[in-house]
């Protein structure tokens, strides 16, 4: 016979305001197998916990039901308390009579009755609980950081400085990300490359960082503490150990008309190229799509000129495996492309603005390149069509962002600030020019941010017009921008020399493929989802995977860096222990009844179930059965619900437990099917039951 203790909490008045707690305790005491039932004002307080501990000892309890708040709130508290009293922690369960009862119902009879039934349900479960031990798993104290932009760089450096090895994977030939493309940064106007490149160099030379550039994550297996990652090193066609980065090959390459990704098409590059002078590693890569040798079969000019014989046309993609314990995802963003054939096929572009058709209509990152000292114009503001200095530039904010009819509802957060910065950079270089900004609202909440925008308007004379632009078209030497100024109510027509579109910040196109490999969730726009929007903004719901930077949502540099350091500290917390404990909610196979249908093997989302041979002493095969690897099993229970022969059960949620919970639900003291003529004698219902 079980000896269960039931402890009913008033939660101050949070529960007792609508539930008669004394009656719940009294009724619980009458449930078969309940040895003691008490109610108390604050069960989670020290005296409350002492009450439970004393009762366990006094009544030699073999199970505890705390009838209080949600287990998500205080299960850990009470499990710790019962452990201190010598009871296995998994023999303690909570009946949620606060969130699921007292807070959501009125003070009336059925509310108290519901509380009693919820307790009874848990008592029936606890009677069948088993003493379990948490599963211990070794932690591999190495981290994988995916993405080598400023967020990935910061996370990698922090973890590496914390004394653990980091694998940094970057899909492009160099680390640096979008921040390397920027000219100057708001609100201080310091040079982006000047502050970033030292960090890039650190990443390249840190003894704890293993850098894989021009590489992608191919496959991820395992679980927190024990991930196995397959990385694809794309064929670079250059042996980076032999190469000295002299750049001779770039000079000789005859294929020179390829739009540079780094300069966002404002400048051309060669087929063998170092993406930008400060690249880390400063080693070239051959773009096989445009290389004359790879497309036409002859050339090899770069190979001939290379002094160290580093060019290797035979190189193939290589796959390497790395074992890590935690993963930081820092895949960053890209800009929404406004022409019709953009990389975001789910979204309508802005064909009416002529981006991609008229060279003088550019996006924010292109303007950054124009304004950058390392850019195609050496930092001179020149319009792309003819290199003339633009006398008036129109900046349009919210291109894509906050525009539900184009499919995007969110605010891209950084555009108000960088547009203000653009107007300043422009005015500082073209003193007699005029910068116009069409905006919807100015969103500048941040340290020194609003002051910065005010400076752009008041000191540098940017003309801010609240309204949207309907159309941009070319008229001779100018672009005509037609829009509305909704504050004055007038239609506006501006003759511009150049137009800059502040397009929406979007996740990297196709990034959901990686998120699926990682098993992390993402929102409708394919931004990665955090575990809790307020209290767990850095972790994913999947344990051991952390988020940093704009892959989670639009962010500026300080925010990305802060989140990267937070993600690094989460990884370091994970690495601070040699072993980690996991809830022992895992599946178990009954080998006597398993019929080897392998449905469980197929259905398990974590490949935790395998086929096992059972042999006699002579080594003859007797039968084959399913076998669960407890360190891979996450305890979803899909196998248990699928097994034909009822041979798999889930610890903590066994069939027996769930059926006893269901059985406890039978309405006692309430006729199931009240009918006047059944008022007397045994009802057929009771017989059937």
């Amino acid at each position: 016979m079980s000896k269960i203790g039931v402890f009913v909490c008033h939660c101050g008045e949070n529960i007792s305001r609508t539930v008669d707690c004394a009656r719940v305790a009294k009724a619980s005491g009458q449930i078969r197998g309940v040895a003691v039932a008490k109610d108390y004002k604050y069960m989670c307080s020290d005296p409350g916990q002492a009450l439970i501990k004393n009762a366990i000892k006094e009544h030699k309890l073999d199970g505890v039901v705390v009838s209080a708040c949600s287990p998500h709130m205080h299960e850990k508290t009470f499990r710790k308390a019962v452990t201190e009293a010598g009871l296995n922690q998994f023999l303690c369960e909570m009946a949620n009579i606060r969130e699921h009862c007292s807070w959501v119902h009125e003070k009336e009879e059925p509310t108290t009755r519901k509380a009693i039934e919820l307790v009874r349900l848990m008592v029936e479960k606890v009677k069948r609980n088993m003493a379990l031990e948490p599963i211990r798993v070794d932690v591999t104290k190495r981290a994988l950081v995916i993405g080598g932009g400023v967020a990935g760089i910061q996370a990698a450096l922090d973890i590496a400085d914390g004394g653990h090895e980091v694998i940094l994977v970057e899909k492009d030939p160099s680390v640096g990300g979008h921040m390397a493309q920027l000219s100057e940064t708001f609100p201080t106007l310091d040079c982006s490359q000047c502050i970033l490149t030292p960090k890039m160099v650190d990443v390249g030379s840190h003894p704890n960082i293993k850098l894989y550039t021009y590489s992608e994550v191919e496959k991820i297996e395992g679980f927190v503490g024990n991930f196995k990652v397959t990385i694809k090193k794309k064929a670079r066609s250059v042996d980076i150990d032999k190469c000295t980065g002299c750049g001779e090959c770039q000079l000789k390459c005859p294929s020179k008309k390829i739009p540079s990704e780094f300069d966002r098409g404002l400048k051309n590059r060669t087929a063998i190229y170092i993406p930008f002078p400060q690249a880390v590693p400063a080693r070239p890569v051959i773009d096989r799509e445009h290389c004359i040798y790879f497309t036409k079969g002859k050339c090899k000019a770069c190979q001939k000129v290379c002094p160290t014989e580093a060019v290797d046309f035979e190189q193939t993609d290589e796959y390497v495996e790395e074992e890590v314990g935690g993963i930081v995802v820092a895949t960053g963003f890209d800009l929404y492309t406004t022409d019709k054939q953009g990389p975001y096929p789910d979204y309508k572009g802005y064909g009416e603005y002529g981006y991609g058709e008229d060279p003088d209509i550019i996006d924010g990152l292109q303007f950054e390149r124009l304004a950058s000292a390392s850019g195609p114009t050496g930092g001179a503001i020149q319009r792309p069509s003819d290199g003339k200095e633009p006398k008036s530039v129109v900046f349009l904010q919210c291109i894509g962002s906050r525009h539900p009819s184009k499919g995007i509802e969110f605010c891209s957060k950084i555009c108000c600030m960088y547009t203000a910065k653009h107007t300043m950079l422009y005015k500082h270089k073209v003193h007699h020019g005029t910068a116009y900004v069409f905006y919807m609202d100015i969103r500048a909440p941040g340290k020194g941010y609003d002051e910065f925008v005010r400076r752009a308007i008041e000191e540098d004379g940017a003309v801010y017009l609240r309204g949207r632009v309907s159309r941009i078209y070319r008229s001779g030497d100018h672009l005509i921008v037609k829009g509305a100024d909704t504050l004055s109510g007038a239609a506006v027509e501006i003759e511009a020399d150049m137009v800059v579109l502040a397009t929406a910040v979007m996740p990297q196109p196709g990034i959901e493929g990686l998120f699926q490999k990682l098993g992390i969730s993402y929102d409708q726009y394919k931004f990665a989802s955090e575990a809790h929007p307020k209290l767990r903004p850095v972790e994913c719901a999947t344990a051991g995977i952390f988020l940093a930077g704009a892959c989670q949502g639009p962010k500026d540099i300080p925010e990305s860096v802060a989140q990267a350091s937070a993600a690094a500290s989460k990884a370091l917390i994970l690495f601070s222990r040699d072993q980690m404990l996991r809830e022992p909610v895992v599946a178990k196979v009954n080998e006597n009844t398993c019929i080897a249908c392998w449905y469980c093997v197929e259905i398990c989302p974590f490949t935790a179930i395998s086929k096992k041979d059972i042999r006699d002493r002579q080594g003859n095969l007797i039968k084959r059965v399913a076998e669960v690897n407890p360190s891979l099993c996450t305890g979803c229970g899909t196998c248990a619900a699928t097994c034909f022969s009822n041979s798999i059960d889930l610890d903590g949620f066994t069939d027996e437990q769930i059926y006893s919970e269901i059985n406890s639900l039978m309405a006692v003291g309430q006729d199931l099917f009240p009918e006047p003529e059944k008022a007397e004698g045994d009802s057929p219902d009771e017989k059937a039951a």
Binding site: K340, K348, Y350, G351, E352, E357, S405, R471, Y473, R474, S475, I480
Partner: protein, 288 residues
């Protein structure tokens, strides 16, 4: 392929060439445009300003006339299309509005009936490949500026192509072999509704449209609205007199160009009706 055809008043009067050329084209394509009986004026642009419910009531009446012919009502005039489609969409989506209109017109609304512009029918139902097969005289070397004006794609709820950047007319005329030009004023208003009170403003607007088409290298403008066509065609003399700009740029209906491409004669599509004649141009391109 049979459609209930609603010509509307303009197409029986000033825009008879639109009507005639559309029928000639449809016949060659094997599309039957069966004129609905007892139709009335759609109320065009003034009615919904005076009484929106009445405008919808008229549209409901017109849609009901399609019974027995087809569930699709083919419309050519942009103003008629605008009026009818707007009412149809409102009635389908807003039950209260629908009740009001049904009560006013005394006719139940049939949600299955749809207002269709002839461009949409050619693009979606007939198909560009089928159209290509019917082309006997490709409009090659003809540089056409496709003009949508303001009514055809606005508001977005009634548009049959991207409302900000429609390309349907370009697609269709290119299927008939024409070269279309990319130009800025394809969706600008021609000023038709101000024709009487503000003639000078209209001249300026039309001048902008014509100049933009001319600058983009167009030989001819294709229209899909009787008011647009009339404005672009007839105002050229006034622009010459008042603004001193001679455009001499023919503005015709897309159905006229397509009709010729599909083998109709100039007479069958009434090509000679325009004030700025398209005949010399089409002769020069061996299309007449």
């Amino acid at each position: 392929m049979t459609y209930a055809y609603y010509p509307g008043c303009s197409l029986k009067g000033t825009a008879i060439d639109y009507h005639t050329s559309a029928l000639a084209l449809a016949e060659r394509l094997g599309i039957e445009l069966k004129e609905m009986e007892d139709w009335v004026c759609c109320g065009a642009s003034p009615i919904h300003q005076r009484n929106p419910a009445l405008a919808s009531g008229v549209a409901n009446l017109l849609l009901s006339l399609s019974e027995g012919i087809s569930k699709d009502v083919a419309v050519l005039c942009a103003a008629c299309y605008h009026n009818m489609k707007k009412a149809e969409v409102e009635m389908r989506e807003d039950g209260k509005k629908r009740n009001e209109v049904e009560e006013l017109s005394g006719i139940p609304f049939n949600p299955e009936v749809r207002t269709r512009h002839f461009l949409d029918i050619l693009d979606k139902d007939y198909g560009l490949n089928a159209l290509k097969e019917k082309v006997v005289k490709p409009l090659s070397e003809l540089r056409v500026a496709c003009y949508y004006g303001c009514l055809l794609s606005r508001p977005p709820e009634i548009a049959f192509d991207d409302p900000e950047q429609p390309m349907i007319m370009e697609r269709i005329l290119e299927a008939a072999g024409a070269e279309t030009v990319s130009w800025s004023h394809r969706l600008e208003c021609c000023g038709a509704s101000h024709a009487v009170p503000l003639t000078d403003a209209v001249l300026r607007l039309v001048n902008d449209v014509l100049a933009s088409a001319r600058d983009a290298g167009a030989d001819i403008i294709a229209c899909a609205c009787p008011l647009c066509q009339a404005n672009l065609d007839m105002r050229q003399e006034g622009i010459r007199a008042k603004l001193g700009v001679a455009h001499n740029l023919p503005a015709v209906y897309f159905t006229q160009l397509l009709g010729i491409a599909c083998g109709a004669t100039g007479k069958q599509v009434m090509i000679e009706k325009g004030m700025v004649s398209a005949v010399p141009l089409l002769r020069a391109k061996n299309l007449l």
